[in-house]
């Protein structure tokens, strides 16, 4: 079972991501956060395999700003930056701690991407 933490301040999108992961029994959403500060707390405790992270969050820190701390808290976690800002890709392309970038409109690709990052696809 791969644990997933969802960091997203839009409750509808948060619920959507959690529902998408619930479609694959090999994933379990173990934490939901709407601020980077809460996310850090949850990630320190749960050490998830996947973190789905929005950039614009409710708290003082943005998603991309908290990435290094998240990676430090859970070095094995695969971080997917999941945002509606298309131009974020250019800004985060050189940030090695971000494992993948996905636009929010491409929700259909979220699960396959998480499966790929956690080496599940090779097991299928």
């Amino acid at each position: 079972m791969k644990d997933v933490v969802v960091v997203e301040d839009d409750p509808d999108i948060q619920s959507l991501i959690a529902t998408i992961f619930s479609m694959d029994p090999r994933f379990s959403v173990t934490g939901l956060a709407d601020t980077a500060e809460d996310a850090l707390e949850i990630v320190r405790t749960t050490k998830p395999e996947v973190i789905v992270l929005d950039d614009r969050l409710a708290g003082a820190l943005t998603g991309s700003e908290v990435v290094p701390q998240l990676k430090e808290a859970a070095p094995e976690a695969k971080i997917i930056l999941f945002t509606a800002h298309a131009d974020m890709l250019a800004r985060v392309v050189d940030q090695p701690d971000i494992d993948a970038f996905l636009l929010k409109t491409d929700t259909g690709e979220l699960l396959p991407l998480a499966q790929q990052l956690t080496n599940m696809l090779s097991l299928l």
Binding site: D12, L103, K104, T107
Partner: protein, 318 residues
């Protein structure tokens, strides 16, 4: 005869001849000297003429130099104008880039929910419980409304900025417009206090007035804190409507951009708010289109006061 005596005592005739000769020589010398003097005078005049010409030329050059200096000054002024225009164009470009990026982001967010949940419904209809289906459809519906609101905002703003907004002014009772805006608000407006003379009337497009008050109320609920108060009064031949809240107020450094497109102060307290960032720019555009003016001032001791001045029946906008 002694030859020495002959030489020492010339004859008188010879002396006269010698003297005449000398005289002629002197006359010739004098004549030559006069000619020389004449030539020198000519040369001097020529030199003076040349000097005069040079002086004239110098004056002309000085004038040309002065004209060139003026042209340089003018060019410098023009260069500064071009520099300023370039900076303004860069700012407009940056604002446009930022506008497109923000609009794209804000359009994608509700779209993501709609696409995501409709896709889940399509692929998993048989296995989803009725409750889940209803939840997903409700979310799609909510996000569709949000998207509609945003698109309408963008279209309204586009009409305002393109000068294509038509206004159909008529007499509107302000108290009725305020009551109408409060009744359709998506926020709980039960505790909003209203102070407005019943006979206060403005001459504006009623749809635009409703939108102005609704946007101000949304702003107060979304970014401010209760109590929220709406007041209206006559002010300098116009009607002034104020919407006051008691939140943290607008950061002073953000005030100049307050009525700009997608203007949202990037603060921890505002990041989670889901406004389009177009509301106040629409208010400003609608107020101007109806012959009025939108403005902001800090409310003391705390909070924000958003105002709009609108023409009365006797006002200039008829």
């Amino acid at each position: 005869m002694n030859s020495t005596e002959t030489l020492a005592q010339p004859t008188a005739g010879a002396a006269e001849a010698e003297a005449a000769k000398l005289t002629r020589a002197l006359v010739n010398i004098l004549s030559d000297s006069e000619e020389d003097q004449g030539r020198q005078g000519d040369d001097q005049r020529a030199i003076l003429n040349i000097l005069e010409d040079l002086d004239t030329e110098r004056s002309r050059l000085e004038s040309t130099q002065a004209a060139l200096m003026n042209m340089l000054d003018d060019l410098e002024v023009e260069r500064r104008k071009v520099d300023r225009t370039n900076i303004e164009l860069q700012e407009v470009n940056e604002a446009m880039r930022s506008f497109v990026a923000t609009a794209a982001h804000d359009l994608r967010s509700p779209l993501a929910s709609m696409v995501g949940f409709s896709s889940l419904l399509t692929k998993n209809w048989e296995t989803l419980s009725d409750e889940k289906r209803r939840t997903f459809i409700t979310t799609i519906d909510r996000q569709a409304h949000k998207l509609t609101w945003l698109v309408n905002d963008l279209l309204t703003l586009s009409s305002i900025e393109g000068g294509a907004l038509s206004t159909q002014p008529e007499l509107v009772v302000v108290a009725e417009a305020v009551a109408g805006a409060l009744s359709v608000s998506s926020f709980d407006t039960t505790h909003v206090s209203v102070c407005c003379p019943a006979d206060l009337v403005v001459r504006v497009d009623p749809v635009h007035l409703a939108r102005i008050i609704e946007n101000y109320l949304q702003n107060a609920f979304r970014y401010g804190e209760p109590p929220v108060r709406v007041t209206a009064r006559l002010q300098g031949g116009m009607v002034e409507i104020r919407v006051v809240d008691h939140g943290a107020g607008v950061p002073p450094e953000f005030e100049p951009q307050l009525f700009h497109k997608f203007a949202r102060a990037d603060l921890p307290s505002t990041r989670s708010k889901k406004g389009t960032g177009l509301g106040l720019s629409i208010v400003r555009g609608l107020a101007q289109a109806n012959g009025g003016r939108a403005s902001y001032q800090r409310n003391f001791p705390r909070g924000s006061c958003f105002m709009v001045l609108l023409p009365t029946d006797e006002g200039p906008y008829r």
